[in-house]
Amino acid sequence: MRFLIEKFGKINISVLFLCIIFLILELIGHRHGETSLEDILFFPAIFGFLSCIIIFGIAISLRLLLMKDEDYYDE
């Protein structure tokens, strides 16, 4: 555990810990969503993680298109 904290930092490990807790909680209780698709096991977790990766992917590619010099409008 100490090794993990040293390697990844306290906050990162606590987030990981929270992730595991909420996955376990889903196994204990019965979670149901607003739509039937959401009732799939661990759906919000997978959806949240993938959404963020996709958003980053799109944002980074948009950067090539939309990023200009800071004084772009001042010229």
Binding site: N12, V15, L18, R31, G33, T35, C52, F56, M67, K68
Partner: protein
């Protein structure tokens, strides 16, 4: 409040602050008058309903008063009167607009919010701020013109311009829709928002974020509840500003993208139009004013102390400004809709109403945005300002008045999150909704902690894009670069063509005159040399005859 604001320049600093709070208190008395039409005047046979109140106006009026108090407290360190006067009259105009009972009265206050608030952008006192203020004014006044046109059309059809539910299929409805849409920063009409808000002064941005866009949300809720196109527009609004927010460097501009995205949630809810959804939209507008105000306050404090809000230049400020950092984190956590914080109790209302209506596609779009908001704003803003250890900026804690305001706003955010049932009592419709059940909490927490995990994953493996000083192009590019870029060369071309045509005509004129004169003299039409003037008159007369001849034959 607006009339009272006229006195502000003449009062000394401390008395001015107390006077402003008293003004808001007097204005708040109107909240106790109950529902119905209270003040009407008739001018030139037109009836102006100046003050009317109903279940929808009340929550907006309450939160606008709360926001006005927070703004006065937050700006108490500024000794000059100009911004105080602007904030007071701006809040007054927004509150008056909410209570307007007809479109002409609304138009007056609509423009008043634009004119009073532009001084807050000018208070940024940079060349960019002056430019942004000018563009802001063009958009706001333009929106007012659409509103006025709609109101006049409505009057010509109905005989009155009552502010009520409008039909989107009518021309006046469409004009009013565009007017509200500009102020609500619809896609492609949103450029003014990201352009102007971050250029305002540190207290100006906080005030701006509270009123203008929420006034538009109120107007949509009142006039276009249940209009289906709003669901699509709102969903697009929640969606696309995320990508801009991630790559934007100025943290206040990141917050304006985030504001735009959250407005989308409200617009979707208004588009659904059920009681649950309208409650969701109103609830989200209220909590959004508080937590977004709080985030802007945090960034305003950073700007005030360090002189910059750029992610590439900030970092490690937590040790200097711990209270500001904690308050900003509370704002960020509320924004991300963590359970026990204000965002959660309003966002679940909207998501539930979408789920209940079976709008699955839009539901997932909004869920996608809910996951994204944590990383592009919830984590990013506090992280780059207060934690990412890379800047050597030294600072001190924000002024006392800012701290007190931020703590007050934080307490409100937490109270709403912890006691949702009391909060729901202020909403337009009485509902029995329980946001805190096992499914909501576990589902939302999974969504959020795994989004956070994604951020950590990207940061740890250095995939996260580094912060670079840059300008990210937004829809205002169309108005600032594309249209001038296309129109100016076109105008130039037209100008050149015009000159060439003129020269050609001149040559033609000269030539025909010479031929004409020679023929006349040769055939001895005139006995003597005739003057130029006579020739020109004869020539014009012939041209006129030809013209009439052609006209008669062909037309």
């Amino acid at each position: 409040m607006i009339i009272g604001a006229l006195l502000i320049p003449f009062l000394p600093h401390i008395i001015r602050q107390i006077y402003m709070l008293v003004l808001i208190l007097i204005s708040a008395y109107a909240l106790t008058l109950g529902f119905g039409t209270h003040t009407k005047i008739t001018l030139m046979d037109i009836e102006f309903i100046l003050f009317q109140s109903d279940p929808l106006t009340l929550p907006f009026a309450i939160i606008f008063h709360v926001a006005a108090v927070l703004n006065v407290m937050y700006g108490a360190h500024v000794k000059h009167w100009n911004q105080h006067m602007a904030i007071m009259s701006y809040s007054g105009a927004a509150i008056a607009a909410v209570h307007a009972g007809d479109l002409l009265t609304l138009f007056v206050w609509w423009e008043a919010t634009a004119i009073t608030s532009v001084f807050l952008i000018l208070a940024g006192k940079t060349k960019r701020a002056y430019g942004a203020a000018f563009r802001y004014l063009i958009f706001q006044i333009g929106s007012g013109m659409f509103l006025l046109a709609g109101a006049i059309l409505l009057m010509s059809e109905n005989g009155n311009a009552e502010f009520k539910n409008f039909d989107i299929n009518s021309l006046y409805g469409q004009l009013i829709f565009i007017a509200f849409g500009i102020k609500a920063a619809f896609p492609l009409l949103n450029g003014w928002l990201q352009d102007s808000y971050p250029e305002a002064s540190e207290i100006g941005t906080v005030a701006l974020s509270s009123f203008t866009t929420k006034l538009a949300v109120f107007c949509f809720a009142k006039s276009f509840a249940g209009t289906e196109i709003l669901i699509l527009i709102g969903a697009i609004m929640t969606f696309y500003p995320m990508f801009f927010a991630i790559i934007e460097n100025d943290l206040r501009r990141v917050l304006t993208y985030c504001l735009n995205s959250q407005l989308g949630f409200m617009i979707v809810a208004i588009g659904i139009g059920t009681e649950l959804a309208i409650n969701g939209a109103v609830a989200h507008a209220i909590v959004h004013i508080l937590y977004k105000g709080l985030l802007f306050m945090g960034m305003g404090a950073v700007l005030y102390r360090t002189g910059t809000c750029k992610a590439s230049e900030l970092g490690g400020l937590f040790k200097y400004m711990p209270i500001t950092a904690i308050c900003t984190i509370i704002g960020a956590v509320s924004l991300s809709a963590f359970p026990l914080f204000s965002g959660f109790v309003s966002k679940t209302l909207i998501l539930s109403s979408l789920g209940k209506e079976g709008l699955v596609f839009f539901y997932f779009m909004l869920l996608f945005s809910s996951a994204g908001v944590l990383i592009y704003s919830g984590i990013r803003v506090p992280f780059f300002a207060f934690f990412a250890n890379k800047s050597n900026i030294e600072s001190k804690e924000a002024p006392l008045n800012m701290i007190i305001t931020m703590i007050s706003a934080s307490i409100l955010c937490i109270l709403i999150g912890v006691l949702p049932s009391y909060f729901y009592n202020f909403l337009p419709y009485q509902i029995h909704y329980q946001p805190y059940d096992f499914s909501h909490i576990v589902g939302q927490m999974q969504l959020l902690v795994f989004s956070a995990l994604a951020f950590i994953f990207l940061w740890h493996f250095k995939i996260y894009p580094s912060e670079i000083n840059s300008t990210i192009l937004n829809s205002d590019w169309i108005f600032r670069k594309m249209i001038p870029g296309v129109c100016l060369p076109l105008l130039d071309l037209v100008n050149k063509l015009n000159q060439k045509l003129y020269k050609f005509l001149e040559y033609l004129f000269e030539r025909t005159r010479n031929i004409f004169a020679n023929t006349m003299i040769k055939n001895k039409v005139f006995d003597r040399e005739v003057g130029q003037d006579t020739l020109i008159i004869v020539q014009l007369f012939i041209i006129l005859l030809v013209f009439i001849f052609v006209w008669k034959i062909y037309l």
